[in-house]
Symmetry: C2
Subunit: 458 residues, 2 copies
């Protein structure tokens, strides 16, 4: 709990932009996942970098943890309050600050969402490519090193954040990166903060890379005789040197859920949803080659959607897949797993996971950004049923262990938060000590989102 002095100091700084109202605390104490924690002591709504800097100085003075908050869509409890503290909600710092079309850069505040940003870009011929599905904030996406359907072509947040402004634990404001496309001038602090989950500082500004809206876009969907055939087709596509903008896998159960939810009539079989971007001549050839590869892997009923409305319909269905899967079992909650393996191990990883899920007795449709080796099982559980929940958690843990055994990672894009904290030693070994040393060096009082990302540290 905040001391009276701490609270009155906070009110002196933020006035009515600090809230200790029950509903506000409750809203900032929940998440989309089953991961739960305590309530924050207060929620603050900064309006400028200087507000966040003042908050950090306040936090150091009163030894109160700070937890950043974007859209609350994270799945591993990143923004939940573990050891008490104040949640910093960036909803009032959600502007586009500067568009530099010639340099394909945009400078934004952390609270702007991906969809809002792309709405603002619509008439510029440019787009922000990273698309995690959820309408997350850019600050949150940077903090978790998010990616999504388009990463296979345009990269993850790692590749699309050019620079940051960060408020450090002591209130110092730093800038990382420059406007130049590359630099060799010292440690790559931008990369250090991207994926640091608010444990090293709070991001108050981002300079993002934009890409040209593609001149030609073609989307295809193809059904395969087995999961293995679909996954092998992905491997062959990448090895053929084709560079799809997206290549998504949906297993039969996911397809069934999407058909029901989004009023589609896709054949009940494993599907690949593929998109190519480029100039019309290049895309036409990409398509011809993909068809060859797909048919060599037994694809049936390969359909191309060239018209924007047909494409939108397919991708809307894909984006709704998570909700579709949830809707397939009313009352259920989902534990969404997230592993990423080397492409060569993808078929094995997916097949083993499928068999494991099937043997568990719970429902767990599989889908993913397979061009990157990244896939999810959406494990449906009755949140009131302890056996369901523990079965799902054990499945999720086995998925992560399987991923590590196959040379992959425990999280391709969702991040660590505290949901995956226990798996960090297995992935990193001694390197985790280096992460701990960096954390202690930059946040010596342990006040920046404590209990997340680095196990064993406050």
């Amino acid at each position: 709990m905040l001391t009276d002095t701490a609270l009155s100091d906070l009110r002196a700084l933020f006035g009515d932009r600090v809230s200790v109202a029950g509903p506000v605390l409750a809203e900032h104490g929940q998440s989309e996942s089953l991961v739960t924690a305590g309530l924050p002591w207060a929620v603050v709504f900064p309006q400028a970098t200087e507000d966040v800097a003042a908050l950090a100085r306040w936090s150091s003075r009163h030894l109160v943890p700070l937890i950043g908050w974007g859209a609350g869509t994270s799945l591993e409890g990143h923004a939940l309050t573990l050891h008490g503290g104040v949640v910093v909600d960036f909803r009032d710092m959600a502007s586009v600050l500067e568009l530099r079309a010639e340099d394909r850069l945009v400078r934004v505040q952390p609270g702007i969402t991906r969809e809002a940003l792309n709405r603002e870009l619509r008439t510029t011929g440019l787009m922000f490519s990273v698309d995690p599905g959820a309408n997350a904030t850019l600050g949150g996406m940077a903090a978790t090193r998010a990616s999504g359907t388009t990463a296979v072509r345009y990269g993850t947040m790692r590749n699309n954040v050019r620079g940051l402004e960060v408020v450090m634990a002591d209130g110092q404001v730093i800038k990382t990166g420059t406007g130049a496309p590359k630099s060799s001038a010292g440690y790559d602090l931008t990369a250090l903060f991207v994926g640091s989950e608010g444990t090293l500082g709070l991001i108050t500004e981002l300079t993002l890379r934009l890409h040209g809206q593609p001149e030609a876009v073609m989307t295809a969907i193809a059904a395969f005789g087995s999961v293995g055939a679909a996954v092998d087709c992905v491997i062959a596509t990448m090895q053929r040197g084709l560079s799809p903008a997206r290549i998504e896998f949906l297993d039969t159960e996911t397809v069934a859920a999407c058909n029901a939810f989004s009023d589609l009539s896709l054949p009940p079989a494993p599907q690949l949803l593929v998109e190519f971007h480029g100039h019309p001549e290049g895309v036409a050839e990409d398509i011809r080659r993909f068809r060859e590869v797909a048919e060599a892997h037994g694809a049936e009923g390969l359909q191309w959607a060239e018209k924007p409305e047909d494409r939108s319909r397919l991708w809307a269905a894909r984006h709704a897949a998570y909700r579709a899967i949830l809707a397939s079992r009313p009352g259920a909650k989902a534990i969404v797993t997230d592993v990423c393996v080397p492409i060569s191990a993808l078929a094995e990883a997916v097949e083993e996971t499928r068999a494991d899920v099937a043997a568990s007795g719970i429902s767990g449709p599989i889908l993913g950004h397979v061009g990157d080796g990244n896939f999810h099982a959406v494990l449906l559980v009755d949140p009131a049923c302890a056996r369901d929940v523990s079965t799902a958690k054990a499945l999720a843990e086995r998925m992560a262990e399987r991923s590590l055994r196959l040379g992959g990672t425990i999280t391709g894009e969702h991040g660590v938060g505290f949901g995956k904290l226990g798996l960090m030693p297995a992935e990193h070994g001694a390197a985790l000590g280096v992460m701990g040393a960096v954390k202690r060096a930059l946040d010596p009082l342990g006040l920046m989102n404590p209990g997340k990302l680095v196990p064993g540290l406050p």
Copy 2:
């Protein structure tokens, strides 16, 4: 100097793989640039990671600095001995350890050179893309976050190192990264070590991304009426959404030097050397579009080289440009500058630099990887002439300041070493304190390549 105990301990560990012979020390006390420093106290040739770990433990025990050494091609004194110490020459750790063709990954030791690696890959259909011109080692390229002609399409070392093995200052061996194409599992230590110039640890193994050798390659060269027209053509090319694999600028003086050195007969005018990679259909359309853009910018005599021997000839000339420029003034040494600016500022940066060089009275041909906004002036000086040298250094400093003023960086690809140490505060401001904190946390005794990258630290 090494104490007798330190030296005898070192000999006990390394036997005849430690040298204190004068010529060996001298060879490891020089560089390709005018940057100079002292001689190392000894040179060690490790053969395995465990050797390097033992060396780090020895270094901590005797408080002796360690300086990594690859091919000695760096330009800012990265591998020179500033505060005494032992040079770690990786020439005996130069093997390909594992090729994983399906995953397009290769695991190598740090001492292998770029050319040796690509020779080993020649028959695999794969290639390692980063090409800084010099036949540097992969360890050195990672340590300086090198890039070169192909970065505009395939990225720099930042994008092409998937994981590392690093020996830390205390001798601990850590692994960063996984075999998966992406991960959100904690701090991006791979990115932290890439570009850290041996100041945080010594890289003993690298897992590198490979790319498919392109099916079709077309190279073009075009002459422009002015530097501005050539640079504007680059900007327009990138904005048109074309994605050249390389797009190099050579000013008139560079062209003249290349003509003389490589027996070419290019017209004496600013030139762009462009290459497209892809499938034949895509490349044909890329070419058609580039020709349109180039001709709209007044390009003359645009020539395509499709035959491998014609392409090789042009690129060999480009790669020999540095030697060609040196040869244009016998006895001269070069100070090679390296700035990188936002594309929108490229014409201004190049034009101002040209005028500044012209006014200085010394010769300084300009060339660069302009698709990334990165260019170099090769300032030719008589090393015995103090006025030449000081004029060139002042020019180089003004170039860096100009780059910062235009939103760019003091070094696009050469790194900081100690040649650019004095410019770091201007680029990074308070962020430099964060770099210092990271350095102190991971190398508390200040023994890893001291005096480099972070000013004011031992």
